[in-house]
Amino acid sequence: MKLLKNNSLSLNQLDGNTARLLTMFVAIFLVASLTKPDMFLSSGNFQSMSKQLVEYGLLSLGVGIAMISGGIDLSVVYIANLSAIVTGMVMKALVLTAVGPELLLFILIAVLAGVLTGFLCGAFNGFLISKLHIPAMLATLGTMQLYMGIAIIISGGSTVSGIPRVFSQLISNSYLFGIPLSFFIYLFVVGFIIFIMSKTKFGMRVFLIGTNARAAAFSGIKINNVLIKTYILSGLLASLAGILSLARLSSAKADFGSSYIMQTILIVVLGGINPNGGYGTIRGIFLATITVQVISSFLNMFPEISNYYRDLIWGVAVIGVLIVNFSANKKTTAKLAKATAN
């Protein structure tokens, strides 16, 4: 046991990861500021960065929670689209004739319809994964198609647009101290999820199930119940992302943002969530989200780097992160093994 102290093995490996992420964020931020000072350090750039990251930031939170529980949620982007379409269509149906305070009430109803959509989609994912024991990867790959299919059918395959202007104005074009309202919504949600995962019994159970589902069952944890709630939470976060994207773009479509799936997984892994479950922090996901946003804005400042290269760069980044995490993990495991060798 003395060894643990001597080798200064941090009990909280999380802190190592947070430090690594922070260093990375600061380094990239500095590079960007030094090489493209007038573009990168402009207030316009900060505004657009803080607007862009909100949607995939929310999606990543859902994917991250699912991964901590030992699964994954590949359907988040399509839950977001479906929720946006439902919200948009309800809004259009109700609002056309309305004015004044009635209008706000109708908007609220439409938003609730979108949230309900996310709830149902998430509950269905959870049902497939927990009750029917379908591996999360396959279950959400299937529902991803399913939700996209439903979205295409109800939207007739076309873009839903003609959303009341108040709605976009309110959410996407209001600023507080020059920062868009949607970014504050995101910060609030991050704080809320940090609370859920670290201070509630539900959060603790998600970690324990992700660590060893069998031991969780033997400890009296109602696994199905916890997993269904996990995917409902992911679905709710996705619907929120969808509703915010509806406000930002004033439109919704069944296949918006397909590339976000890869990006959310990159963020979650970069954030230090163990792909096998049981381990990671929401704080890590948050730091990874803003880091990825800075990198992607920075890359955008080089028009000569084509989109093809961009895919290549992201691909290399995912693999690089996986390798770093893997070897960092192996080192701690080796240290632990040494410290406890008998």
Binding site: T200, M204, N212, F218, S219, G220, I221, K222, L336, T340
Partner: protein, 492 residues
């Protein structure tokens, strides 16, 4: 030539701040089976690594076959005929049995082309030496642990081993496999090979060894013939504590019925009836596959009975899940600590708190962190989990302390019926005694305890009566007065 094949004198070895060996001696006669015993962490593996040249000793000397070395190299050790069967066997999982056996020899012969026939001949010769029947073309990773071990032993023999050292070879073996290993050890002894057998299980020592050395905290505390050994002496030298297993059962007094099982049948067992009373420790024994594990699972809501009834405290109940069992005051310490009991990478605290989350959270589900921390700290102290801090991952603990953590988790729910499946497998002798005493105290507090086990001594020491199962049925029940080791072993 001297009659000692190995003689270690005054070896010191430190790792950083840990003084693992404090001047130990170890002498092994040619042709004997010598046991090296001691609790976890006392330095057994370290001395082996010194002998085989993996670790350089800080001081002291190793004498092999009359030749003295102040620090021996691995190749010198192999040349002198020392072969180690490590705890993980060090076989190549992705090669076939044949390749594993022949690889060293083939590499040593420096031939450019590898001749399959030659490979097979070498491999056959190796397995024949110990009468080991195995498919030479099977991949090693597909074989059971016991077979991997035998492959390692065969390979050692190919290298002309004169002294084979086995580091805790029986920990992962079933009873039948242990038996087979012992036959092989007898065989090797006849062929003139000397064996150093590392173990902390006394019955194994009696069965197979000629002489014994006991280490405690990096010092050797006893060296003698096994014939001069007895249970009490063994336990005392291992731990430095005196145990009195006779007294565990003092004050036993059974009260009203707390759990009644009537005509219960489920996959794995059939028509089981028994009655557990408050204050009673009931043993359930039988071989692997006799239905004892299934019975414990059914009582804990993890296996659905298709017939019969369970009565708890006078009321017929339907135990549909572990959560329901917990509600009814039933707790289970599962058989396989690592896969069913523990969240290995999580803290000791979380491992203990898992059953208290509902009770120690607000209506909205927010945990009362202070209460949970106090709860965990309290148990670590009460039940004697040896650790610096309950925030350490539970995987840093020894087997016995890990088991105490699982126990604490369930004791925290204040159960009326506590079922323990194989409660002291892989637990060292001191912790084992602690757990037995604890079980008795829990019974004396008026709880009903069920111990599922095939450890005869354990059953005799703690149980008031023992039911023996075979092929899913209870075939015998031995009451307190008749309960003794000889009698019980006949049935298991």
């Amino acid at each position: 030539m001297s009659e000692n094949i190995l003689s270690v004198k005054g070896v010191h070895k430190s790792f950083g701040g840990v003084h693992a060996l404090k001047g130990v001696d170890l002498t092994i006669k040619k042709g004997e089976v010598h046991c090296l015993a001691g609790e976890n962490g006392c330095g057994k593996s370290t001395i082996i690594k010194v002998i085989s040249g993996v670790h350089k000793p800080d001081s002291g000397e190793v004498e092999l076959n009359g030749k003295k070395y102040t620090s021996i190299t691995p190749s010198e050790a192999i040349e002198a005929g020392v072969q180690i069967i490590y705890q993980d066997f060090s076989v190549f999982p992705n090669l076939t049995v044949m390749e594993n056996l022949a690889i060293n020899k083939a590499l040593a012969s420096k031939k450019k082309f590898i001749n399959k026939k030659e490979f097979r001949r070498i491999a056959e010769e190796a397995v024949n030496k110990i009468n080991f029947k195995v498919d030479l073309d099977a991949l090693v990773e597909d074989l059971p642990v016991a077979d991997k071990q035998l492959i390692a032993i065969s390979r050692a023999l190919l290298a002309d081993a004169k002294l084979i050292i086995m580091d805790e070879p029986t920990t992962t073996l079933t009873k039948t496999e242990v038996k087979r290993l012992f036959e092989i050890i007898e065989d090797l002894k006849e062929q003139g090979v000397t064996i150093l057998f590392v173990s902390h299980k006394l019955d194994e020592v009696y069965e197979i060894c000629d002489s014994i050395t006991i280490f405690r905290n990096g010092e050797n505390v006893l060296s003698c013939q096994v014939s001069e050994m007895d249970d009490e002496k063994f336990a005392y030298y291992m731990t430095g504590r005196k145990f009195d297993s006779q007294n565990i059962k003092q004050n036993a007094k059974a009260g009203d019925s707390i759990l009644e099982v009537k005509n219960l049948s489920a996959p794995g067992f059939d028509n089981v009836n028994f009655n557990l009373r408050k204050g009673e420790v009931l043993g359930i024994s039988g071989q692997l596959g006799s239905g004892r594990t299934e019975l414990s699972l059914a009582l804990f809501g993890l296996l659905k009975p298709y017939e019969g009834s369970i009565v708890v405290d006078g009321k017929e109940v339907n135990i549909t899940s572990p959560a329901k069992a917990q509600e009814l005051g039933i707790a289970l310490v599962p058989e396989d600590r690592l896969t069913e009991g523990l969240f290995l990478s999580q803290s000791i605290k979380r491992n203990i708190n898992v059953t208290k989350l509902d009770e120690l959270s607000s209506k909205l589900g927010v945990m009362n962190i202070t209460a949970l921390t106090d709860e965990s700290k309290g148990w670590v102290k009460n039940i004697g989990v040896k650790t610096k801090d309950h925030e350490y991952p539970v995987q840093t603990l020894s087997g016995g302390n890990q088991q105490k953590v699982v126990l604490a988790r369930w004791l925290a729910t204040n159960p009326n019926v506590l079922i323990l499946n194989a409660p002291t497998v892989g637990v060292d002798i001191g912790a084992k005694h602690d757990i037995h005493t604890l079980l008795r105290n829990l019974a004396n507090e008026g709880r009903g305890i069920i111990v599922v086990s095939d450890d005869v001594k354990e059953l005799v020491d703690v149980c008031d009566r023992v039911m023996v199962m075979q092929q899913g049925k209870i075939i015998n029940e031995i009451a307190s007065g008749d309960l003794n080791a000889d009698m019980l072993s006949q049935y298991i």
